[in-house]
């Protein structure tokens, strides 16, 4: 049986999603995995919806993850997380949300009649609950980047740490760290590796506090007599 893993990373332009995806994919290749990645870019360089889709498995052919097919959705911004999660997450998939919510442009933020007073993140969680997607973890990625690592720009590395810390990605920590060193621009290797490690650590701690989740059975594809 071939294991297949579908991962979506979502957030906003300027958050380093493309770089995080490229690093993780490079590490997977280095660890001998068959992998494809496809980015969806925003039209502007800052604060517009951006995502990337990573598929690992011997038989993956399409560059796109089907609706409701992602085993893991990682969001660098929570509202984008809700959007990506509702479209892509499997019913039993895991969703990791950075707890920051970008304030939307004023004209769009007119409260609608019947809006509850719930905070944005609570509303987002309610959205997942209504969709019956239960495994949603709120993760303080920005907080770790800003206060533990000392640079908010390392958010993508912190979130990458959380992603790898789920143990769902068939990649070795050391490989990822090495790739981060190699691909980090302009001498940011050290701080990026530190941020990655901080992300791994915080996610593991949080998982322990919240109770160890049961071993995750990855989706399987039928064995195939021929390749693509």
């Amino acid at each position: 049986m071939n294991r297949e893993l579908n991962l979506v990373i979502a957030g906003l332009s300027g958050q380093g999603i493309v770089m995080a995806g490229k690093m993780l994919t490079t590490a997977l290749v280095a660890d001998g995995k068959k992998v494809i990645i496809s980015d969806s870019l925003a039209l502007t360089h800052r604060n517009a919806p951006t995502s990337t889709q990573i598929r690992v498995g011997e038989d993956v052919a399409s560059l796109m993850i089907g609706e409701g097919q992602a085993d893991l959705v990682v969001a660098f911004e929570a509202t984008e997380g809700l959007k990506a999660g509702l479209v892509y997450a499997r019913q039993d998939g895991l969703v990791i949300l950075n707890d920051r919510v970008l304030r939307r442009r004023a004209s769009a933020a007119q409260p609608k009649a019947g809006d509850s007073d719930a905070s944005p993140i609570t509303k987002i969680l309610q959205g997942f609950e209504r969709a019956g997607i239960r495994d949603v973890r709120v993760f303080p990625g920005s907080d770790v980047a800003q206060n533990e690592v000392g640079r908010l720009l390392t958010l993508n590395m912190v979130m990458l740490g959380a992603t790898v810390a789920t143990d769902m990605i068939p990649v070795r920590l050391a490989t990822v760290e090495q790739v981060i060193q190699e691909l980090s621009p302009r001498g940011t290797g050290e701080v990026n590796v530190a941020a990655f490690k901080a992300g791994v650590k915080r996610f593991k701690e949080q998982s322990r506090t919240e109770g160890e989740r049961p071993g995750r059975e990855l989706s399987t594809a039928t064995e195939t007599p021929r390749g693509s």
Partner: protein, 1162 residues
Amino acid sequence: MVGDTKTAKTTTDVEQYAAPTFMKYSSPDIAKDAAGETVLLSGNEALARGCIEAGVRVATCYPGSPMHYTLHNLVEAARIYPSMHVEWSVNEKCAFEVALGATLTGVRAMTTFKNVGLDVALNAVVCSALDFSPDGLVLIVNDDPDMSATQVAEDIRALAIYSSIPVLEPSTMQEAKDFTAAAFELSEKLHLPVLVRAMYRHGYAREPVVLGRIQHEVRERTPHYRAEQLSHPQIEGHGLHSGPSRWAHAHFHGEVPPPQSQLAKGWATREEAEKAAECFEGNKLTISGQSRVGVISSGLAYRETMEALKNLGWPEEVATLKLAITYPLPRGLIERLLHETETVLVVEEIEPIIENQVRSISAGMDSHAEILGKLTADVPFSGELASHQIGPALAKLIGQEYGAPASAERMRQRQEILQSSVPGGGVGGQCPGCPGPAAAYALKNVSEQLGMADDMRFFSYDGCCGGVPTGERAPGLCMGAGINLAAGLYHAGLKGKQVVLSGDSNFFHGCMSGLVEAVYNKSDVLFYVMDNRTTAMTGHQPHPGGFGITAAGDLTKTLDIAEIARACQADFVATVDPYDQEQISEALKQALTTKGVSVVVSQRTCAVVAQRQKGAADALIFDVRSQVNRDKCLSWAVEMSPCEAACPAHIDVEAYVRAIAKGRFKEALQIVRENNPFASVCGRVCHHPCETDCKRGKLDEPLAINHLKRFVADYEFSNGLEKPTPVPRTREGRVAIVGSGPAGLTAAYHLVNRGYGVTVFEASDVAGGMLTVGIPEFILPQKMVQAEIGHIRDLGVEIKTGVAVGKDLTLDSIWKQGYKAIFIGVGACTSKELGVPGEDSPGVLHGVTFLRDVNLGNEVKLGKRVAVIGGGDVAIDAARCAVRLGCEVSILYRRSRAEMPARDEEIETVEAEGVRIEYLVTPAEILSQNGRVAGLKCTRMELGEPDASGRRQPIPVQGSEFEMDVDTVIPAIGQSPDLSLLAEGSGIETTDAGTLIVDPTTLATTRPGVFAGGDVRTGPATVIEAIADGNKAAASIDGYLRGEDPVEGRGGEAAALPVTGADTLPQGTLARERQRVLELPADKRIRSFDEVKLGFTEQEAIAEARRCLRCKICRRCVEDFACVAIVTEDGHPTVDQNMCAGCKVCIQVCPYGNIEEVEAGK
């Protein structure tokens, strides 16, 4: 070559700008000699690597997503191999022609752009193939089925076929590299350009790729001009067609007779191309003995087909043919598949290019295979193909079910949740500090101030500035089109200065000839270039107007857009800084008022580049931030705008005016109706204290609020009233309303909306009270009144006419019928007596009675000469009716014009209609003769000391008596309520003036459960005051029936409320004339009862609504200035400190100076 002329880089700005910041999809390792190594490559990298391995010498590109990253990679290669020339071309035609020119020397060249780029270069592309038969020329073009980065989902293969250019379609990244390298070989073999069709998604996807050998020897070929390839046969005269195209074309199709053919060595032939297609290595047929169904696909569609087949468990019956070359088709492989299967499904992106060729092959052979695809609706034309679209079609063919991986129902539910949980839109927009919105705001502001905004149309084609000023995307068509489209509008005779928005790169790309066209042919346009000094949206590629560097990072000249415009002799040219709103506004004012071609260059470096130039990527451009002063900002600090406060019913005028300004008329009416069910009535008869207090009045003239209200009501009326659905009864108690005037019906309207059962008792045979019987048709047409009453009735209010409480019913009997509360709104309909002799003569008609009879069409006996006594609305209205009935009319008023209760406007109107007003005159006796009025004895008056009402008391002048020759007298000196409904011991107390005593806050009478309002409380007053009482009473009755404290929280209902903070005028607001409504001319209107005032047109209403100064919810910063950092908190503007770039434009935008500079981090 270029390498020799490389100059040292000097300035820091350029260095920062040229630094390799494009690492996402390009890599410095792309050109390394590492054959056999497996690396992760994006499509862009793979395509570039293919070029590098093939030894490309010249590579050109105009930026367009995603193909420009291919060139970024070649820039990296050129750093290592200096013989390479890599350039950002000015446009695609330049790019293609430069590459074509290079191949004439025997080196390999490549040009790349997106689908629409091929359109720009098409003229040269079409001619190149057969005229030049170039060797080693490759075009890499991407199609974009989802239109992710283009305005059209065209299929470039159609254009390639049209140009006789072979097309290769890679599927994987490995193929992207391999096919590109092979394309150069193929081009040299066939003497044709070869096109590699990548898809948009290829550009930004990555896969492991095995690298190949770099053909250094090919790259380092010595260029020599290959004239023989171009030496076309020329046969002159004798009627023979001379010219190269004919021979090349004939030769291509194998039709050139000898001896010409010998001249055509090195030219392309179709036969060679078809042969090459047959044996092109990437084609792959997988077929077995069990195959019944064949699938033909290419590119990414092939990957989706494989995904679908995987989900179907790799069915044995399906054979697959993957096409690497899709023009010409490998005929042999297609024929074999058609022979060996029963059904063939063609799966391809966008147009049925393969499908049509397969159908044509099938038609020429003995095949019975059924061909399915787009033309049979088995594969969609539009959008990016996905496995879930192909799977079901395949499954059907082999009799299987295609199990959807996720239930469609569940995904639909999720979509619904998504719609309701995510704040709509709102993200994206420009980056913080972007100069675009600042430039756009200035244009919007200036054009509105000059009153030119309504006649402006925008054309735009540019990534980062597209559509900002209008809030919606301006039509673009294609790059460079805007200025010509605008000129077309002008030459067609359309009014107004047309505005063309362009970016800087777009200017060089396609606008310069349009600029010359506009100047030469004398068009009237504003050409507004938003110059951020880089091709920003596609990733900050340099261009001729940028920092003076080339793709390779060499220093070059910088071309100044304004200088070019001056050289083109534009009528007005200025370069301005959008961060300086005063400067840019001044330039725009001049530009907009200069006839002819104005060019304004708004120049400021893209904020993202500015950040990079400053150093670390997270450094912001400036060290300051903006913040909204919440103590002063109108939105935070002002509770009510002056108009809303002045209105007795406190209608949210600003909100409905804003809705009108945006053309949302229905929404505006909804807002009026929250506090007033009589928009149409009020819009005609209200005395509009809102306009008196309107802040705009301090500047020029108040907003025409009343006419706006009337407009939205009329708009609904003339567009077909939607009958409202009755409100379901959700409350126990039933409420009785006595009197169907504005007070009673307003109370009924709110109570029925709150779920109560409501019955209105009306003594008269018609509902509406004074609205129906007291206001003449030419002021308030009855159809409008009846429409609004009908609306209230349709909501579920029961109106019983002809039931006089006090006669047919008593208050006690109403209680006994089970009503839980009563509202008395019987008005003030009893005319006051003059108290002079002769008042009972025939020929004396009291004002309200007269108006009532006229309105109801009853017989009215008027003489020839009428004297109306009084100075209020009833007197004026009665006089105007009498004029229309053919009488000579005078109004007698005992004080002077200054004290007259009628408004100036009314006095002017009545005088224009020929009514004479006698001031300081009072009747002393009505004379009669033969049982009819025969004259009026009057006394002249003079003004004494002010009385209790503050008005000066009239005092008779001794010996001033005189007689007037009149035959009809209409006293209209006031009315009082008819309180005959109050039986003895009703428990309801009255004032000396004959009105009811009620609590001023709750309108409760002295009897529990009985409330009263309108004229019965106040004496004769205005419609809006009656409506305000209706609002108040409904709230009180609701509270009473719920058993709540009726007084608590009612402070906001006082008739006039204090207003704070709304008195300053916004800076820079120019006077703008109030829109006038048309009126019937006086000589016409006195001959009929037709409505005198004609109301606003849609356009006038919007123009008038835009005069509103927005005293409460100013929101200029959030609505007019599209800065991403200005967000709202509880609906009020605030600056998100994490986003603010410190450009300080919003500080200049706020007309009240309520956005302030703060230190970063505070």
